[in-house]
């Protein structure tokens, strides 16, 4: 297999889009904490961008929706915490190893990829719950902290964590861009459109989905490690949080436009910041307002905002309506 061709079909043609991805995100992450001096918001934004990109790879490009997707995030957080607190690993290798644990777990789950539709979604949810119970079990207190939570505040470094998270959030967006332009990405999209046709053409759809699954879980694990590092001390329910690290991420991806490069990033930036603004200013009615907002958005832009952005870009670049 020609890996360069497999992943980088035409590198030169990526530069414009890469610039359009990197520049706004870099500006956002550099100026954001100066404009609104709450670093945790922008760190969480970086984490959610990584999660949205990771989900986009497996859901947007292959069409498989893992409802319990957040399990990889949690494994990454716990892997990092355990290696730091028990084995005194430095942070960087601990986060990478935590992400590797998440990827290994995804390998364990590969039989789930033989399922489809609701069966796949539900089985991944069951896996999420199973691992939550394992990690919060008192029998594993000496390793995971069990229900008492796990602490590794000795390496807490909010500024460094933020810088790394910002860089990796941008990197995850680039990964999605590379995939979208690669033979690999085209294969994934073909699988999404018609898995059986792909199989008939002699391509192993399971193998390609496994690759996507691995990359996605690794990025989620990295995000989890960075989030755990920022928390310093967390309980199982803080990282095994289905609403925030699975459902909310799915909403972000859908809102932005699944299976696109810009959609999940833009969707996450807009919806996450709206969510945070509502949290700070209208906390009492946050869920009502946010829920209504989602209903309206889904009703009027069911395909996400990415197509609208493309249309807007067309209007800017080709004002006379050239198609």
């Amino acid at each position: 297999m020609n890996f360069r061709h497999f992943f980088l079909k035409d590198p030169k043609r990526m530069w414009p889009e890469a610039t359009m991805l990197v520049a706004p995100l870099a500006v956002l992450f550099i100026l954001g904490p100066d404009i609104y001096p709450n670093q945790s918001i922008f760190l969480e934004l970086a984490v959610f961008i990584m999660l949205a990109d990771a989900l986009n790879i497996v859901y947007g490009y292959t069409g498989y929706l893992p409802f319990g997707f957040g399990v990889f995030f949690a494994i990454g957080a716990y892997g990092t915490a355990i290696l730091i607190s028990h084995a005194s690993w430095p942070v960087a290798p601990a986060i990478i190893a935590g992400a590797c644990f998440a990827a290994l777990l995804s390998l364990l789950f590969t039989p789930l990829l033989r399922l489809s539709g609701a069966y796949f979604a539900i089985s991944s949810l069951a896996a999420f719950e199973a691992f939550y119970l394992i990690f919060s079990n008192t029998q594993l207190t000496s390793l995971t902290g069990g229900p008492y939570g796990i602490s590794f505040t000795q390496v807490y470094n909010a500024n460094l964590d933020y810088s790394v998270a910002a860089v990796l959030a941008i990197a995850s967006a680039i990964v999605v861009l590379v995939i979208s332009k690669s033979t690999f990405g085209i294969a994934l999209q073909a699988i999404r459109e018609d898995r059986f046709a792909v199989e008939l053409a002699g391509v192993s759809s399971l193998r390609y989905r496994t690759y996507a699954w691995l990359i996605s879980s690794f990025i989620s694990g990295i995000a989890g490690g960075l989030y755990g590092w920022y928390q310093g001390f967390f309980y199982p329910e803080a990282v095994f949080n289905l609403t925030e690290f699975s459902v909310l991420v799915i909403v972000f991806v859908l809102f932005g436009g699944k299976g696109t490069v810009f959609g999940p990033v833009v969707g996450t930036v807009i919806l996450f910041l709206v969510y945070e603004i509502l949290t700070i200013t209208f906390s009492n009615s946050l869920l009502i307002i946010f829920g209504l907002l989602l209903v309206v958005l889904i009703l009027f832009i069911p395909n996400g905002i990415e197509p609208l952005l493309r249309k807007a870009a067309d209007l800017l670049l080709y004002p006379d309506g050239r198609d």
Partner: protein, 495 residues
Amino acid sequence: MVHRYRGDKTGSSSTAATPGGSGAGKGRSARKALIAVIVVIVIVVAGATAYFLTRPSGTSQQYITIGTLYASSGSFALSSGYQLAGLKLWINQTNAQGGLMVSSLGKKLPLKLIALDDQSSTSTATTLYTNLITLDHVNILVGDFGSTLTAPAVAIAQEHHVLLFDPTASTPGFFTATNPYIVDLSILVSSEWPLVLAHYLISQKTNISRVAILYLDQAFTTAQAQTLDSTLVTAGITPVYYQSTSASSAAEYSTLLQSINATHPQAVLNFGYDTNDIAFYSALSANSMHFNFTFTIYSGLEYSLLHAQTPAGSLNYTYTYASPPAVQYTNVNLGPTTAAFVSNWTSTYGSSPNFNNIAGFNAGLLIGKTIETAGSLNQTAMRQAVNTLSGNTTTLEGPFVINTTTGAQIGMPMDLLQYQPGSSGLKPVVIYPTALATGTAVYPAPAVVVSSTPLNSPAVVSAESYYSISTSALPASALWLQYDDGIAVSGVNRN
């Protein structure tokens, strides 16, 4: 996928113009609209930037800002609201007296509360704690109710060198020698709570040998269950049932109770939060089950809520921790006595306070005393001031004693009480430790349903009873409460 805007290198926009003028006209108007939107966004961002970068930051101290979180929804909403109400009362009373004296400024400053709603979400709490520190620049940071919602603040407070005043988070893991920026004000570390219960059961006063322990899979409840289990096992009583649960409904507790009943326990000990205890008693009643000894945590901490939300007679002859307001401290040297507080609260709000109301108020009392002792709002000075209060301060919640290295609370002990129905209502009778007992236990609990009525005749406890051992000289892991049966308990994590 077609990426039109990337465009071909040869074409120009004009060569592919849509035939007819209407398409071009629509394109132009849409373009203008888009440009207008971009301009508006740029203006808003620039304005916000200018505002945040140029806003005044060095204004003179006009008041003391107290920042805290509360949960208006979610699993901790009830208890969080109770705690906040107690804190608010202290703030109102302090402001009515002109505020707090800050000697370094040479004047009294009024208190200003900034309370943000985390909705019982830890990630929201992370954002809001940071907001309180970096945007609101609060002078005093107070944690939300319980360990779960306080956990996000621990590392953030330490990072920003802000002292976290913790009213009700009791997880031992929060308190380490390397973090001086946290102090537990109003609650004994959770692993210590069940010692009194364990001692009572071990002392064979009831000849109980078959014990069932059911606990919620949260840090606060698991710590208690594990302490109790290990203590009982060490004393030769191996629980016949020991199970964690995430149950929250009466239906789920019904299933669990069937399993418990099959083990024929003499004592059933359920460790949960308020909503769990309500579900537990509802399931007990629905299944017409009765045990000789039934213990829950929140029937003591939030009696009024449990009484109102559980079937009639559910709390009769049940056991719980004896804590204020059921236990009332008379010999206090900071703030009102428990009785005076209860009276004031009842006249102000028209209902009796519960433990978390008192914990919130007690936290306020100690914060005020800390500021006045420190003489400034310097975080390090306040931490040192808290240490000086430890061991010689008694409030309406009992003796304030902390591990001065870690900030963990080892005072404010829990006793054991039983609710005994009488002619004028349920009476909380402290049954253990014996030296403090106001009566004796009725065991086994009569299997008759008597409608319970509001609490009366609180037990009165003199705080001095607890100082049979000097606390200052003890290491962090030592047991300082001396129970009258002389049974020693070791291996309890008190760091």
